[in-house]
Symmetry: C2
Subunit: 350 residues, 2 copies
């Protein structure tokens, strides 16, 4: 099925576009009243992810309101550790938790190898259903957490501020950490390839917690495994390239290394100036980003001036996908998002 709007794919491949494509991380989310309504129907977050119809519905909701140039699979980043045997659950107001944690060699050995088609059939079904519902209007992004990011939750058992247990494992028993990351890299590769088979036209790896590592530890425990995944991904389907985006939050110091990973594009958080980022790596990869999500609390004029400033800093080059530097914050007004999306298209029109 040919895409009616392939601006996003073209920008990721550094091809010319009529205007800069835009989407938002967490664009299907709590800032939308219709999302909150569907979510209430589904019950908890995981039930929403597992219900094919409702997951499809929330994925499409933001596209009905805004001219986004891509849809992104609605799912959780912790689906893989869940079916590896850890038992994911959400406790109100405290975020994700696991019934079992991974702390020693035996815990790693006990993890199940996964087969996405059967173990995570709800994800594959959601990709198929969303892809079909989109009908080629815009590309569909599949995604996964990075091995390091998944490992932080699996070792800590929940969200953490000091990353105590996962770093203790990395520093004291790196061989156990590498065994865990190796299993995860294999699982993530298989998981993303299954999403590609089911219809994803682009995949993104979210490395939410790579930025809490030192430069050396980032290379060893996070980037190395993302590289391994990139090498194992299906990069073409029916003659169409499937671009890969790597996003390490707080990874601005390591852009050159990330650009060497073999990915087509890097996601940038808002702390780095996108023009400087382009000078550092623009010859090699496309860049995705990078407005501060908190800018959406500002008035329309200020949002427009920020969009203009980011477009200006990137300059008139191929290879820019506009996005926020991180997921949209729940309390943002839906009107601010409209201002944001429309300004990107209007101010970048060639």
């Amino acid at each position: 099925m040919a895409l009616k709007n392939d601006r996003f794919i073209r920008a990721l491949l550094k091809q010319p576009v009529d205007c800069t494509p835009v989407w938002m991380m967490r664009q299907a989310g709590r800032y939308l009243p219709e999302y909150r309504e569907t979510r209430a129907k589904a019950g908890d977050f995981l039930s929403l992810c597992k219900n094919t119809d409702l997951a499809t519905e929330v994925t499409l909701q933001p596209l009905r309101r805004y001219d986004f140039d891509a849809a992104i699979l609605f799912s959780d980043i912790l689906t893989i550790p869940d079916v590896m045997g850890l038992g994911l659950y959400f406790s109100e107001g405290e975020g994700p938790k696991f019934k079992k944690v991974v702390r020693c060699e035996k815990d790693v050995a006990d993890l199940h190898a996964i087969k996405t088609e059967t173990d995570l059939d709800y994800v594959v079904n959601a990709v198929r259903s969303i892809h079909s519902a989109l009908g080629g209007s815009v590309p569909l992004i599949g995604f996964s957490g990075s091995p390091w990011t998944l490992a932080t939750y699996m070792v800590e058992g929940q969200s953490t501020k000091d990353f105590r247990h996962v770093k203790t494992m990395a520093y004291n028993t790196p061989e156990i950490m590498h065994a865990l990351l190796d299993k995860l890299a294999t699982a993530v590769t298989e998981y993303l390839n299954a999403q590609i088979v089911a219809g994803a036209e682009v995949v993104q790896i979210f490395d939410t917690w790579g930025g809490v590592l030192s430069t050396a530890a980032y290379q060893e425990f996070s980037l190395n495994y993302m590289k391994k995944i990139v090498q194992g991904l299906t990069r073409e389907r029916d003659g169409q390239k499937i671009p890969v985006i790597l996003f390490t939050k707080n990874g601005g110091l390591w852009l050159e290394n990330i650009a060497d990973s073999g990915a087509d594009a890097l996601g940038l958080d808002w702390t780095i100036d996108i023009g400087i980022a382009r000078e550092r790596v623009g010859g090699k990869v496309a860049l995705q980003g990078n407005m501060d999500p908190a800018m959406l609390f500002a008035n329309a004029k200020r949002i427009q001036s920020e969009v203009k400033s980011i477009l200006g800093s990137f300059g008139d080059h191929p290879g820019h996908v506009f996005n926020l530097g991180h997921g949209i914050t729940p309390n943002v007004s839906p009107d601010a998002v409209k201002t944001f999306v429309d300004s990107v298209h209007e101010l970048s029109r060639r």
Copy 2:
């Protein structure tokens, strides 16, 4: 009073030293059983800061156990907003809070101008008392939060994850934000100068939250005001230079700009390789840092190898003060700190 150990000052001024000086952010803290005991005696955190004898006692505790090359005033970073009229208090398990918040022009106008000697006499008394108790054994560091960091708490009213209100003010009404930051820069300058008069031999500005800003916003709302403070500080006392250290957590992207501030040294968090940082700014300023605080959860051998690696990366140049990349975590074992401090001295001995 001449210092018996001036290694720390010499390193900050890029003069030769016999071995690399070391201290730790939050070295007087909860990882020490004697600290927890004194803290229990004082009641809450603020009462401990306000009790001259007990504040002196906890400042000296880590120096009795370890060969630290500096002491740091025991105090809170929110003393200034407290006496400006916001009413600081601590609610158990939730961190610092203010009774009043700053959200509009009038709130900024209502803030009191402060005179440290009278409004914050407990801080001045603590500096005098600690300085006298140290008897010149090691230098005493005075400190303050940066204007931007103080503003985040004053506008949010408490700790925050999304910096929603403070960023909304910065983006929507920058003139109000600048009026607030201007008042804070004046207050911080006066506050640090009073600490210098009272006996501080070095001062450090903690910019804990500068790293949540975009590159442009960091310059405008954080770095500019730290520069202003640096320009207004007393830089010499009795013929002895008083070095200034700026520490922006997650400021690795902006080291060149921070090095241009007029400060003598930059504090580095653990995410940047200190050798790369030295190449970028080493000609201009000394560097302080930068071991991952979580490395103190590792075994002695691993801590030693990390210290060696950081020393090796910095190389045989003047201008290195060893430190953690952020404050020490409460659950660390006191033995790990001994390993850390002793390795720095032993492995760097000229």
